[in-house]
Amino acid sequence: MGYEFDWHVLIEYKELLINGLITTIKLSALGILFSFIIGSIVGIGRASKNFWISLFASYYVESFRNIPLIVQMFFIYFTFTLSQIFPFLNSWGNFLHINDVDAFFSALLALILYTGAYIGEVVKAGINSIPKGQFEAAQSLGMNRFQVMWYIIYPQAVRIIIPPLTSQFLNLIKNSSLAMTIGVAELTFATQQIDAETFRGFEAATAVTILYIFLTLTTSFFMNLIEIKFSKGVKNA
């Protein structure tokens, strides 16, 4: 007797899967937003001509890049009670309809710190690829250093780095599956739950894999749209 597939489990447990999908989307969307902010700050620091600023930025990058994400999550989750340290997280959790505030934000914080380090390297490479003439031209127009960065260099750098940035965002979406290990009820967690209750892990894993592929494809589609929009009117883009 061979194995008989039973895809009805998916309909039976559709609520678990849909809630998991929504949690994954929340985690990924917040993660992408904040890791991009952190990554930009760190990347600008890394590209800075000041030796000490770039040294401290590289401390950040090297330390968070070289520690497995799961270790960071466990460290944050088991050592700190984030909702006590940052009380405002409770109201954020209410706003986002999150059951386990501590687990969710521990996972989110680890994701942000980890991906922020990678995005920092990407941003640094983007800034370094802007020709020196742009700095000098902006300075000769009377802009101060902040204005040069904010109005001239950074927008050009972001346009260049969209493809590697997209792959970092996709990595973040994929890495959000690790939040399962500290008990955040996202997609991968749903797989394990279904397997534990019905022994139909194979069917559940197939469905969840398709959902992940759908998520990553959607994200890269939107990033492509952004890239097309940004590169309008630019030569050699």
Binding site: F51, S63, N66, V71, F74, M180, T188, D195, G201
Partner: protein, 272 residues
């Protein structure tokens, strides 16, 4: 003043490393004093715990040793499988190319954790369907299979990029010397391509080394799972996980520095 120190460090690399280490240790100490004033490291640093963490239970392989076994065997296997897929992806024959594209894109769009579950859940299903027996695969073997499948998709992309970076003239020169296409590949193209790929392989190995901690989820007692087992007993999460992070960091960091050096060396060789 600061400028002088800066110039000194640019000339003296070794002193610069010592300085970095001192600064990082100080920062960690300050962090620990603010965040977690009372520590009990002595309870954790016993001989039994360390032995369990690095070598596993007596009579079994586990801990950090198992982590290295997982990483090295997976990278070794995925080197071959990834090369096959990479060459298939590069080739112009559609029947070979399209399955390779599907495999690579599918694996790259799936989280590693899902791949691990897939393998873990799928092995019993397939063994029921094809061999009509209940298969009992140990979690360690399932983890190695999952890591191999996952990493070979990335290795395939590295291999393809390596082959693409070989100038067309090499193919033509080999052809004009009377090599058949498989001879060209084995004797001319691949040796050059692999040399260029070495640094990328090392960084893939570093990524894989970090990812082996995910074998935790299916119950492989590698370094990270050993740490969580100790944590369940002692409940000293700060001490244990910071130590684990430090060990992972020092290994992964030194390997990525090594790959950086290799990259420079390879570049020099190729330019010479």
């Amino acid at each position: 003043m600061l400028k002088n120190i800066e110039n000194y460090f640019k000339k003296h690399k070794f002193q610069f490393w010592i300085f970095n280490t001192v600064i990082i240790v100080t920062l960690l100490k300050i962090f620990q004093m603010i965040a977690y004033p009372e520590t009990h490291f002595s309870e954790f640093f016993t001989k039994d715990n360390m032995r369990f963490l690095f070598f596993g239970k007596p009579g079994e392989i586990g801990g950090l040793v198992l982590t290295f076994i997982l990483a090295i065997s997976s990278i070794f296997l995925s080197f071959f499988i990834g090369s096959i897929f990479g060459i298939a992806r590069w080739s112009k024959i559609k029947i070979i190319k399209i399955p390779a594209i599907i495999y690579i894109e599918l694996l790259r769009a799936t989280p590693l954790l899902m791949v691990i579950f897939w393998v873990f859940f799928a092995i019993p299903v397939f063994s029921m369907a094809f061999f009509h027996t209940q298969a009992h695969v140990s979690p360690t073997v399932a983890a190695i299979i999952a890591f191999t499948l996952f990493t070979s998709a990335y290795v395939a992309e590295i291999v393809r990029a390596g082959i693409n970076s070989i100038p067309k003239g090499q193919f033509e020169a080999a052809k004009s010397l009377g090599f058949t296409s498989s001879q060209t590949f084995i004797h001319i193209i691949l040796p050059q391509a692999y040399r260029k790929m070495i640094p990328a392989f090392v960084s893939q190995f570093v990524a894989l080394f970090k990812d082996t901690s995910l074998a935790y989820t299916i119950g492989v007692i590698e370094f990270f799972r050993a740490a969580t087992i100790i944590n369940n007993r002692l409940y000293l999460s700060f001490e244990i996980f910071s130590f684990v992070a430090l060990v992972y960091f020092s290994i992964a960091f030194s390997m990525s520095k090594f790959s950086h050096k290799l990259e420079k060396k390879v570049e020099k060789q190729l330019n010479a």
